[in-house]
């Protein structure tokens, strides 16, 4: 920058001098130029006449009268003035060249400065680009996490809602036409195929899954206890549990058929609780045990029906 300033100072100084000179003599330049260019025409004219007066008499007359000398003087004067002008003009040209070179130098320096600036900008742009890319990555991750979180919250809310809805539906007596095991089966089957299952399978952490399962277990126990009008811990071997089996004989055939289909996936050895429901619907008298630990059956049923979503 310092060298650029110096160059500019020198340049401005020269320009200032040049301006001063031309302003002091506004027509000096025109006269100089015209004297040089047009002076050659004058010289040509006199040379033309001189050459025409080559005869001895004419030369004698020109010599005696001084016309020849006068003519020669004019030629010399015009040439001398022309050369003087040419010399000044050349100096002016040199000065112009110096000014042009100074200007080029200044512009060159400015160009270097600009290029350096552009390179700095380029480097900054490179860094900025990396930063922006990293930032974009982070933002995308955050966005994804936020999306997941929102989806998780959404699903959890829906799962909570579904669980509440199903239990409320049951507790409102809407399943009273079914035997108790089928009420448990129906509620669990609905949860198994709804938002609850989606949440448990996709979004819930293992702790959440464990908590939700425990919560579900409590809700079902409470609902069953309510239906039996007993405390949950006192209903291990309640006669009503078994007497309610009879209700299955009175089911609407379509509903019965539907429940049979929904429970058909259980096999006798591994899914015994659900299989018992299936059997109760298909062959009630042959397959059902006469005495049954209700709590154990419920836990088993929950485990079998919700096992898929609790992994």
């Amino acid at each position: 920058m310092a060298s650029t300033d110096n160059v500019l100072k020198v340049f401005a100084c020269e320009v200032g001098l040049s301006k001063k000179t031309t302003q002091a003599h506004p027509h000096l330049k025109d006269k100089m130029v015209v004297d040089l260019i047009n002076g050659l025409e004058v010289v040509d004219d006199h040379i033309k006449v001189s050459e025409s007066r080559h005869k001895p008499l004419a030369r004698l007359i020109d010599g005696v009268t001084g016309k020849g000398k006068q003519r020669q003087n004019l030629i010399n004067k015009n040439l001398a003035e022309g050369l003087k002008t040419a010399s000044i003009w050349l100096q002016k040209h040199e000065s112009d060249f110096i000014q042009v070179n100074l200007a080029l130098g200044t512009i060159g320096n400015k160009l270097i400065e600009t290029r350096a600036g552009v390179m700095k900008v380029d480097s900054k742009v490179g860094s900025l680009k990396d930063y922006v890319l990293d930032f974009e990555k982070v933002i995308k991750e955050k966005q994804k996490k936020l999306g997941d979180y929102i989806q998780c919250v959404d699903l959890r809310t829906k799962a909570d809602a579904q669980m509440g809805r199903e239990i409320d539906f049951w507790e409102a007596g809407n399943l009273n036409h079914l035997p108790l095991p089928l009420r448990v089966f129906t509620v669990l089957d609905n949860l198994r195929n709804g938002s609850f299952a989606l949440f448990m399978q996709n979004k819930a952490t293992s702790t959440e899954r464990s908590d939700y399962m425990e919560h579900l277990r409590s809700k079902i126990r409470l609902a069953v206890a309510n239906d039996l009008d007993e405390k949950p811990d006192d209903m291990l071997f309640k006669q009503e549990w078994f007497s309610l089996y009879d209700l299955s004989h009175k089911l609407d055939p379509i509903e019965k058929e539907s429940l049979i289909y929904l429970s058909s996936w259980a096999n006798r050895r591994e899914k015994t609780a659900v299989f018992s429901v299936h059997s109760m619907l298909e062959e009630p008298n042959d397959r059902l045990p006469q005495r049954h630990n209700m709590l154990r059956w419920m836990d088993r049923s929950i485990e079998e029906q919700m096992g898929v979503v609790n992994q």
């Binding site: 027509h27 130029v33 025409e41 004219d45 005696v64 006068q70 000014q99 600036g117």
Partner: protein, 340 residues
Amino acid sequence: MKSNKGTKLGLVLSGGGAKGAYQAGILRYMAEQNIQPAMVSGTSIGALNAAIISAQKDISKASDVINTIWQELSKTDPIEFKKAPFILSSAAILLSFSNILSRTIVGVAIDKAIDKTGLVGEKPLNNILADNAPVKLLKTGLPLYVSLYESEGSGADLVKYFSTTLLNSLSKDTKESEFKHIQSLSSEIMHEAIMASAALPYLFKAQDIEGKKYRDGGMGGVIHEQGNTPAQPLVEAGCTHLIVSLLSDGSMFDRHNPIYKDVAIIEVRPKEFISTSMRDMLAFTPDKIKLWIEQGYEDAKRCVGNSLRALSLINKNESNKAKVVNVLQDLKNDGFHIGD
């Protein structure tokens, strides 16, 4: 060279009789290039041309009028010799050179008689002036200066003129011509002053201007063509640039005379010989006039054109330099900075 601020262009038209047609060619070139003079001066035929330019004011109009006049002049010779004074004049011219005219009573009487009439009638030239440079237009026209030589009688003027022309430095130069600003004269004598500038001894009568007898201004300061090339009054009137039309080969007009030190002078000089004898001064013939008009045009194109081209290039260069200075200043002051 249009009238830029601070530039005042003058047009100087020297004398040369019929060779004045050459100036019609110069005007044609100036009109083509729109080179408009601010004022004009002339001697002899140059004074007549200058008067028309002054009256017409606009260079294009003036060029058209003058070119038309010269083409007409080539058809009708403006020089009408009067029969009666012809013999008397011829005798007087002979007597002039034998130096008898001014020494004898008869000689002086003849001289005075010729001075009052002139060998050639003025009517054709007066008509040209009346038609194309009427006093009314002259009064509001471009400033016009004409060169006048104070007469000492036709014979004496002629002898002095020719002897100085022939002997040059061996002889004492003729006295200097005076320059009259036409617009400063009274209306009655404006045309007389212009005619006086063209009044060659014996051919035309001397003109009485403000109490003095005047003749062709070309006779003054013969050695350096002071009177025949009336550049001086235009310089004194403030012209910064002059276009000078010279109607002789190898004219001794000196552009480096100190009185022109601050003036840019473009001389239009003939590249080819403009005349081969004194008779050309009265050669108002179609072929000669056509030739001179073309010659004037070509010479103006060369002399004026080359000078103007050079000036134009320099002006462009100066203008560009100023732009460069401004750009550099802008570059310096633009506050451009890129931090670390």
